[in-house]
């Protein structure tokens, strides 16, 4: 599918495009999903080392207590919460729960806000 030059105007200033709130929830759902996929090898490494023996377990505890790990966990905590909440919103809409425009906009706001709330809660509790 080749893109041919046309005279049609191009408007790609994302700071001026008015995105529906559902689109924001959806973008963040994809971004958080990608982020979580990238953390899979790290999770496996933690699992691997922590199960090798008491020394490995202590080593992982040390890693997780450090600041970089705690910062990462705040981000991952948000990613997990937003991805799961947005995902459940989609699952419910699949079975026609909350599929009306009004309900969908409300649930999108709820998901985004709850995600931010989890981010703050984890940051507050962890840092």
């Amino acid at each position: 599918m080749a893109r041919r030059a046309t005279a049609r105007p191009v408007f790609l200033n994302i700071f001026r495009i008015h995105l529906p709130i559902g689109a924001v929830a959806s973008f963040l759902h994809r971004i958080s999903g990608l982020l979580l996929t990238l953390t899979l090898p790290v999770v496996l490494l933690l699992l691997d080392v922590s199960l090798r023996g008491p020394e490995g377990f202590a080593r992982v505890q040390g890693w997780l207590a450090g600041l970089p790990a705690r910062l990462a966990m705040v981000v991952i905590g948000w990613a997990l919460a937003h991805h799961a909440l947005a995902g459940m919103r989609f699952l419910l809409m699949d079975i026609d729960v909350g599929a009306s425009l009004r309900a969908a906009r409300g649930s999108a706001w709820a998901v985004n806000v709850l995600g931010a709330a989890v981010l703050l809660a984890v940051a507050g509790g962890w840092l």
């Binding site: 999903g33 990608l34 996929t37 496996l44 699992l47 199960l51 377990f57 799961a84 459940m88």
Partner: protein, 113 residues
């Protein structure tokens, strides 16, 4: 399977793996938030437990399936040049298979220790 059927199959697998993962993550998070594990012995006893070990194995499979479908969706939506898309799909598939093999090794070795 018809072309239309393929999309439906992916959609079902994505939903099924998602439901299992929400339950698994909630349970495992509960375990951690309850202050566990206090020591290597407790941690090992948990992961090597026959039922928990199985739950972990299924969770790993669910993550691989779910992540594959998700990454494939992203690549199909945003990467138009065919060669780039195939490269992306190949890398993702390879990485996920490697993670699966690694995870299986971790669980088997933990069970044997």
């Amino acid at each position: 399977m018809s072309r239309a059927g393929q999309g439906l199959r992916a959609w079902l697998w994505q939903r099924a793996s998602a439901v299992y993962l929400v339950l698994f993550v909630l349970l495992q998070l509960g375990y951690f938030l309850a202050g566990e594990p206090g020591s290597y012995a407790e941690w090992h006893r948990w992961v090597a437990h026959p039922v928990v070990s199985l739950a972990f194995a299924v969770a790993l499979l669910a993550v691989l399936v779910h992540a594959w479908i998700g990454v494939r969706n992203i690549l199909m939506d945003y990467v138009r040049p065919v060669a780039m898309r195939l490269l992306g799909l190949g890398l993702a598939a390879g990485a996920l298979v490697a993670c699966g093999a690694w995870g299986a090794r971790i669980l088997v070795l933990a069970g044997l220790r």
